[in-house]
């Protein structure tokens, strides 16, 4: 069983490394990911963010502007997911206290 686990892990690691070898180099201007326009010829979102983040929100940290303003719905979903996780933990784990007579108190 252990051997099978390690074999699966090694296989997965090999798959990841193979996939990573296909990524473009950092800052490569010819890579599709970094081009100013998408393959369909429309302007891409990252270049818009880089050009307009400070003008739109007067905030120097571009990442904050994207997370909280341009992608505000996404961050709202993240927060809701965390809240749901907390609620689930509360409902599953928080047990009702028993008093010495063995009766469950609310």
């Amino acid at each position: 069983m252990k051997v099978a686990n390690f074999a699966a892990l090694a296989l997965f690691a090999g798959l990841l490394i193979y996939a990573a070898s296909g990524l473009p180099n950092r800052g490569d201007p010819t890579a599709v990911l970094h081009r100013d326009t998408s393959p369909a010829g429309t302007p891409s979102a990252p270049s818009y963010y880089i050009r307009n983040a400070y003008k739109d929100a007067a905030t120097p940290n571009m990442v904050t502007v994207i997370l909280a303003d341009y992608r505000g719905f996404d961050t709202m979903g993240e927060e809701t997911v965390i809240f749901a996780a907390g609620l689930a933990c509360l409902l599953i784990l928080r047990r009702k206290r028993k008093n010495p007579q063995g009766e469950i108190e609310p």
Binding site: K55, D56, A57, A58, T59, P60, N61, V63, T64, V65, L67, A68, D69, G72, F73, T75, M76, E78, E79, T80, I82, F83, A85, G86, L87, C89, L90, I92, L93, R94, R95
Partner: protein, 144 residues
Amino acid sequence: MRDYESDDIVILVSRTLSPFIMLFALYVIFHGHYSPGGGFQGGTMLAAAVILIRLAAGMDIAQLQFPRALGMPLGAVGVLIYFGTGVAAMLGGGSFLDYAYLPLPGAAAALRSLGILFVEVGVGLAVVGILVSIYDDLLESGER
């Protein structure tokens, strides 16, 4: 946790360290406009400071600092701040979460900056409350 004994050195070090962790967490939240950071990261650090006191002094004494019942309400308040910011933008005439229409004086860009601040504070509060609440629940379920 039954045979738990508090130790003076551990309590002293945690008490000394905890306010500085909280201060740095607040810095991370409120300086998120200018440097890496924001609500999630700062909130996690605030929760770490609270949980440090819980670990060092025990659950009973730590109740004085952050009561067990406070976690989920604080999380709900954080989520409500986020949603409230979005709804306030709607009341101001824009679409949901469009901070430029917040009903406050100021230019659109400055209002967006302010809206981001509100949202980050909401996220930070929610993360503190919910992380501490999850810690308490796990601890309590292990006590049976």
